[in-house]
């Protein structure tokens, strides 16, 4: 037996530390009533379970080369260790909070650590009281560590099937409300009742889903289809692709009617961010100019649309949506040039901070009374009419969804054509090395300004659509968060990659819309996701080739010697 005790214990404490953290900031308690399966597994418990599971996985990974028995033993040990931080938390609550209840104290710990509640102890001990709950807790973390170890140590096929099964079951549990909504649209009431009780999965249905996914991935259906596809002759592959595109188009058209009004609104937001993300992708992904003030152009688009179409007192000209849209885009181009000009000489970090400054200046100006006679100041612009399309008033999220899909497709098309053009290659040359690009005869001023203005145009278009959708715009909607959102989504999706933008905005905009209860912790998730992405997968989920090489640091030696040369 070759067990490295310190690593094992450390893994355990690390996993338990995660559970401690999530509980101490209140996530466990907030989601303790949000059941996933039946009424015995809640999201809150899932957060605590991450601790044991993670410690088991970590330890088993480290001991993969050893005998299986050794690895399992190690994982069980770290599972026990992972209960220590949770026990510590229970102890702290007992000593600090519960003892103070009903007493007149000078320092009330509960008012400092707002989320250390007696209720949390109850949740962590499964409502069994301390004496029975603590052994139960240790047993639970150990079991979880065992499951974690099994995921790693089982033969690949079993392990994968098990992981997929768990993921799908828990995933459907978490999104039960949305899945249920979709099922109600496409199937009948009885089937829905079979799968879900009030808000959660039926235990029987959960088992069925788990078994189904387990069997499918165990048999490796996905792999079989893939290898079958590769064997097809080229002509048939082409036909298949056409069929695929047609199916995708039908799917995109049918989607809003399948998912209902609420999810259509989420899809609309996703589409809006795809438009913005594609624009920012040109600036950051292709031209390598890291900008954090992207919201400014979004705001310009929205305000142009607002001022031109509003029927309120601030409206000028009473344009309709379709004539105002090109003007808004043009305004984006102009402002892209105006704000791009001063920063022509800046690079890297400084550019990021200055563009961030621009975004803030614009927001502060928009909020101030100084410009209020033109754009409403803090009161914003009201009564922006919804667009009409050949007599159809687009006041439903479903119809607006088509508008953003059309806009995204148009922008994606333009982006692809630009990427493959001379200009696109100039952008990428500039991204790789500005000085060399200039030496090769690329006009940096022109190339940079084009990147800024085209990116700004797309963002303004998104802003205009946004204004038409919401009807009233206020300066506080145009905060830094939108810039951060747009930047995060192209990073998570994979910089420079168009499918990446779609994936990124589905993950960063779509998911939080579905998980409404998470609103309070949304930005926490964002922050942690960004850090984890940068640590483990800096190239994003669907990376573009060159970026992947670059960000993976395959040119590491080169990086050390010439820090300027690989600057993005």
């Amino acid at each position: 037996m070759k067990l490295d005790w310190r690593t094992i214990i450390r893994n355990g404490l690390l996993g338990g530390g995660i559970a401690f953290y999530l509980s101490a900031i209140g996530m466990t308690e907030l989601f303790s009533e949000r059941y996933l399966i039946g009424d015995f597994l809640s999201t809150g418990q899932l957060f605590v379970a991450i601790g044991g599971l993670a410690s088991g996985i970590l330890t088993a990974r480290g001991l993969k080369e050893e005998k299986h028995l050794t690895a399992y033993m190690g994982s069980l040990l770290s599972g026990i260790a992972s209960s220590i931080p949770i026990l510590l938390l229970i102890f702290l609550i007992q000593v600090l909070v519960i003892r103070q209840i009903g007493q007149d104290v000078i320092f009330n710990w509960r008012s400092m650590f707002v989320n250390l509640s007696p209720n949390l102890v109850e949740i962590l001990t499964f409502g069994q009281g301390l004496a029975a709950g603590i052994p139960l807790l240790i047993l639970a973390t150990t079991t979880l560590a065992f499951i974690g170890a099994a995921l790693v140590l089982l033969p690949t096929r079993w392990g994968r099937a098990l992981t997929n099964g768990l993921m799908w079951t828990l995933g459907i549990g978490i999104f039960s409300e949305n899945v249920r909504q979709i099922l109600t649209e496409v199937t009948n009431r009885d089937f829905v009742r079979l799968v879900f009780q009030q808000r959660t999965l039926n235990p029987e249905a959960a088992i069925a889903i788990f078994a189904g996914v387990f069997i499918i991935s165990f048999l490796g259906v996905g792999k079989v289809t893939q290898s079958g596809w590769a064997k097809l002759p080229a002509g048939q592959q082409k036909q298949g692709r056409v069929v695929g595109i047609v199916l995708l188009a039908v799917f995109l058209i049918a989607l809003p009617w399948l998912v209902g009004q609420f999810l259509s609104q989420a899809l609309f937001l996703v589409g809006m961010y795809v438009m913005m993300g594609l624009g920012l992708n040109i600036v950051v992904g292709y031209a390598g100019l890291l900008g954090l003030g992207y919201v400014a152009f979004f705001a310009f688009g929205a305000y142009t649309m607002g001022i031109l179409t509003s029927t309120g007192p601030l409206g000028v000209g009473n344009f309709n949506f379709w004539t105002a849209l090109p003007i808004a885009v043009l305004a984006g181009v102009v402002w892209g040039l105006v704000l791009g000009f001063p920063v022509l000489r800046m690079r890297g970090d400084y550019l990021a901070i200055v563009t961030l400054g621009f975004g803030e200046i614009i927001r502060i100006l928009a909020t101030s009374n100084w410009l209020a006679p033109f754009e409403g100041g803090p009161q914003g612009i009201l009564h922006i009419p919804t667009p009409e399309f050949f007599g159809i008033v687009m006041n439903q999220p479903q119809t607006m969804y088509y508008l953003v899909v059309a806009g995204s497709l148009l922008i994606a098309f333009v982006t692809i054509r630009l990427r493959d053009s001379r200009l696109g290659r100039q952008w990428m040359a500039m991204r790789e090395d500005e000085d060399v690009a200039e030496a090769m005869g690329i006009n940096l001023v022109q190339t940079k300004l084009l990147a800024f203005s085209i990116g700004a145009a797309f963002s303004a278009m998104a802003g205009a659509v946004f204004a038409a959708r919401v009807g009233n715009i206020f300066p506080h909607s145009f905060n830094l968060l939108i810039s951060i959102n747009a930047l995060s989504l192209i990073i998570v999706g994979g910089m420079g990659s168009i499918p990446g933008v779609v994936v990124g905005s589905l993950i960063l905009v779509g998911l939080p819309e579905l998980l409404r209860e998470f609103t309070e912790y949304r930005l926490l998730m964002y922050g942690i996701l960004l850090i984890i992405m940068m640590l483990f997968r800096p190239e994003g989920f669907l990376p573009e080739e060159t970026h992947k090489r670059e960000l993976r640091g395959e040119e590491e030696e080169y990086v050390e010697e010439h820090p300027v040369a690989v600057e993005v």
Binding site: I25, F107, S111, G357, S368, N369, M534
Partner: protein, 354 residues
Amino acid sequence: MLKRYFENVSWVDIFLRLFQIAAIVIIIIGVYNTVIEARYTSAQWSTLVFAGLAQGSIYALIALGYTLVYGILLMINFAHGEVYMAGAFTTVFLAQYLSRIGFLDSNPFISVIALILLAATVSTGVAVLLERIAYRPLRNAPRLVPLITAIGASFALQYTFRGLYGAEFRAYPAVSALQGLVNVFGFEVPLVQLVVLGAAIILMVALYTFVERTKMGKAMRAVSEDKDVARLMGVDIDKVIVTTFAIGGALAGAAGVFNGLFRPQGVYFFMGFFPGLKAFTAAVLGGIGNLPGAMLGGLMLGVIESLFPNLILEGLGIPAANQLRDAFAFVMLVLILIFRPQGIFGERLAEKKA
């Protein structure tokens, strides 16, 4: 000769020059109008200046953290504002406790020292953890990567503290010993502002001595010159970097307490973001990587922010000029980076490295 000059200068330069002239003309017109109309008495101006200096010393303390880290790692620690928040937000509970038992009023000096120590400890802990978890694994990554990590860390820290301490504002209690006015050169100045300014200057001098006189300080300077050579000379790079983050954190924590002492608005989880950005502006203003520069840059920014809305904007006839106060820091930042990226006291570093 003029023709030769125009051949060498691109139209971008000409445009930027015009922009520069326009900015200067606007400032002069604004100041001229305000002075001519004599809107404010000299006592009012001095109030603004001293408030600006006190606020500026807080910016300066935070800016030192940016400058130290930038000098050594060439990265902008975007999450530094959150380090400042962590100290200030945690310490408010101790301050309220001390106030409730009456210790704050009976022993104000010891209390304030205790507050500063606690805030510095918490902030240092957060800064060191941040370095260990988020930045150290990325030390050789392309420069975009740590910047994005820092943005992520900034949000993660904000919402972690929101989860821990809740979303409400919490106010520091007033220290009765620090109330009252002092006469400086014939002007009435609130004592608390002088104390904050003085304490900040003491800390800055201490830092400067540390960097210039101690062995660790020498190692820090060596690493900021050339990491690889420093390593060859036997400097423990990791230790130097952790120390740098720790010092930056401690100063930010102290700044958090000072902020609580003289601004009664209270602290909350988002309080670090804008002071962080402004402190970064201050660091750039003084020339990033330059310690005395960051100190003076902070003080200057404080004064500019407090003076200019009244001095320039009102002269230009813009209503409610104080609403635009926050924009000033960013306008300054943009102007400096356009026209003097090396900062007021900096060497010509910025163009090479930025």
